[in-house]
Symmetry: C2
Subunit: 174 residues, 2 copies
DNA sequence: GCCAGTTTCACCCGAGAGGGTGAGGCATTC
DNA sequence: GAATGCCTCACCCTCTCGGGTGAAACTGGC
């Protein structure tokens, strides 16, 4: 995704228990932790001296507010373009603050416009091959909630089974 | 797939009831018709004056023999590279005969080496979002057979559910 | 002819998915 | 405050899938 952006960006996967990685900006998706986002970001910030850029599907003003208040230097929706992501990384690496107000225009990739943040999140995990129960575990919700999202997703993207949803999702940037 | 090949090739979808399409080479996958491939190819040949290039997963010598005997000007495995496909189209368009002996080296794309032709065929249809029953209908076999293939595919590519198989398949050229 | 691999099929059973209905709580907007 | 959309959850039921077992027929190579 970033390979086609203008500025050169090296991506280094960082895991929770990896405290030796040197990065300029830490990209962090608090999926499953949105309820206690403050605690989560405090933990994440303790792992690195690099500024933290939250990169997740949810971009509700409440999440943004709380993430920034928790010390994140930026917040960007996964629906933003790769160019926006690259420039967000640059802004944060330079010590600036990246708020979604600057990227609100480039909101979602084409075809995802009608999915809510949560629905997009669930579709992301479906495309990763996870079962409903695994997704429920990951997001700390009931499997009934996941089934509801799955139904809504299928209606919105016009499919009727999982394989079709995966194919759709992968064709649309998930 | 062909967009990245050297020679320029225009692809025109041709359906069974479309007898006005002008094409130089007719690409034809007799999926589901391998038992009566002769009859099928006779029908196909009646649709066009263009040479017929069979493009399918199965590349058993028996299928090749019978397809060429039925009038096909070429036979190419779907496992072949896009370059091979493009040059096969050129060969056939020039009036040549395209037999798999020339493309046997570039047999399957990476990662599909262990799938049989039938298994690859089934995975193709899974990636198209079809259910087991639909696949069975398409291939004129029992749904029990399809389940068996699905099991074998999952074992070979190391997945345990459909969504994972779709993602794997799409990542490997299906 | 023998052997291995492939194709095909059946059956059993539990797990997972999918479609439906209904409901309450929260955040945002007017 | 009311309306709307979203999130969350429950429950019902059916369908599909997935893992297992077993078996027969065919093809190609040795």
């Amino acid at each position: 995704m970033l390979a086609r952006s203008g500025p050169p960006v090296d991506v280094v996967p960082v895991r929770r228990d990896d405290d030796t990685a040197e990065v300029d900006v830490l990209l962090c998706d608090p999926v499953g932790h949105t309820v206690q986002i403050e605690e989560y970001l405090t933990l994440v910030a303790a792992l690195t001296t690099a500024p933290v850029l939250v990169f997740t599907w949810s971009s509700s003003p409440s999440s943004v507010r709380r993430a920034l208040a928790a010390g994140a230097r930026g917040f960007l929706s996964k629906g933003a373009s790769s160019g926006d992501l690259a420039s967000a990384i640059e802004t944060v690496a330079r010590g600036g603050l990246m708020s979604p107000a600057a990227s609100r225009r480039a909101r979602t990739p084409k075809g995802v416009a009608e999915l809510s943040a949560r629905e997009a999140e669930v579709l992301d995990l479906i495309c990763a091959g996870m079962s409903n129960l695994e997704i429920a575990d990951q997001l700390f919700v009931s499997v009934n909630s996941v089934k509801t999202y799955v139904r809504q997703i299928y209606q919105k993207i016009g499919v009727s089974r999982r394989a079709q949803a995966v194919a759709w999702g992968l064709a649309h940037g998930f």
